[in-house]
């Protein structure tokens, strides 16, 4: 009576699935949780503690970008009003998201940790021009979107070969209840 058992088994599975919690996430209202280290194809430029732009217009990110989508116009060096040191500024900073492949190389080479990626995805556009991030949009992203943890210094710290070697003792000390 194998066929008889099998029939009721399938009925049982159907019945079980009727009462299971649906796995569908009602997207526009609810967002699925993202991984801890998730990064989306969108960027933000940061300000330092004085409220001054961090980007010094060194063009490292422009040179390393595999898709060549970053365009920077740098100004000649001048004295910073806050620190008094001479430094460069970016006059214009444009990222064309049409071809961004989320490789994160621009974050890795940035010497000032001025550019970070975001955790919020970019909206689709009705034209190709809608996908271009201008400098105003990049500085607005710093405040309006959730930023990813990756910065140039953070990634160097994470990939430091010495990192795991001292940790066990320190981690053990942290784990002890105070």
């Amino acid at each position: 009576m194998g066929w008889f058992d099998a029939t009721f088994k399938t009925f049982g599975i159907t019945l079980k699935n009727l009462f299971r919690k649906p796995s569908t996430v009602e997207f526009p209202a609810v967002q699925r949780e993202r991984a801890e280290r998730y990064r989306a194809a969108s960027f933000a430029l940061l300000h330092d503690e004085n409220g001054e732009e961090k980007c010094i217009g060194c063009k490292f990110c422009e040179w390393i970008c595999p898709s060549q989508i970053i365009a920077i116009t740098a100004t000649p060096k001048r004295e910073s009003p806050f620190t008094g040191k001479k430094r460069g500024y970016a006059e214009d900073f444009t990222i064309n998201l049409q071809a961004c492949i989320v490789c994160e190389l621009c974050i890795q080479v940035c010497p000032e940790d001025a550019i970070v990626m975001t955790r919020d995805t970019e909206q689709p556009g009705f034209s190709r021009e809608d996908l271009v991030l201008t400098m105003d949009k990049l500085y607005a992203n710093e405040k309006t979107t959730r930023l990813s943890w990756h910065t140039g210094a953070g990634l160097m710290e994470m990939q430091n070969p010495q990192r795991g070697q001292e940790k066990p003792a320190a981690a053990g000390a942290e784990d002890k209840p105070a």
């Binding site: 569908t24 898709s67 995805t121 909206q123 689709p124």
Partner: protein
């Protein structure tokens, strides 16, 4: 068609176009033109966690003649370009096109002799999705944007 051009701008015409557009935007029959790795994200958008069918676009047609929404998913080379154009021409009006991911939108980082630098050089595109690959949520965002666009379309364009 003569009837629609006479109705344009009248009360009956605007009500008719609202009703037609409402019906059209919730019954998009899609034709996924999948050529590359973005297809994985497209499958993810179609599967139960995101469930594209909540937006009325659940049935992929395997002939462009039965479809009205063309998803161009992935890199299009110059050898494939005539095929894409033929597929687009085979679709019945009204038809819409979504460019899915960096490669379809602009050629991506394949800036070389064999890759089409954006499918809008071959066919008209309604919505561009950035990302390499895009997240399924962006695909659903694009679908919602396309539905808004369809709802706004005037009657005379649908002839």
């Amino acid at each position: 068609m003569g009837l629609e051009s006479n109705l344009t701008g009248t009360f009956v015409g605007t009500r008719l176009s609202d009703a037609l557009n409402w019906a059209r935007k919730y019954s998009l029959f899609q034709y996924p033109f999948v050529t590359a790795c973005c297809g994985m994200e497209f499958m993810s958008a179609a599967c139960s966690h995101y469930d594209i069918s909540r937006f009325g676009a659940e049935i992929p047609r395997f002939s462009p003649r039965q479809a009205d929404l063309l998803f161009v998913v992935g890199t299009v080379s110059h050898k494939l370009a005539p095929v894409l154009r033929k597929v687009y021409d085979q679709m019945c009006d009204p038809k819409w096109v979504v460019s899915f991911g960096a490669c379809a939108s602009s050629g991506g980082f394949y800036d070389n002799y064999c890759t089409v630098q954006g499918i809008d050089t071959i066919i008209p595109v309604d919505v561009y999705i950035p990302g390499c690959p895009p997240r399924p949520e962006q695909v659903l965002d694009a679908l919602i944007m396309l539905q808004e666009k369809i709802q706004r379309e005037p009657l005379e364009k649908q002839a």
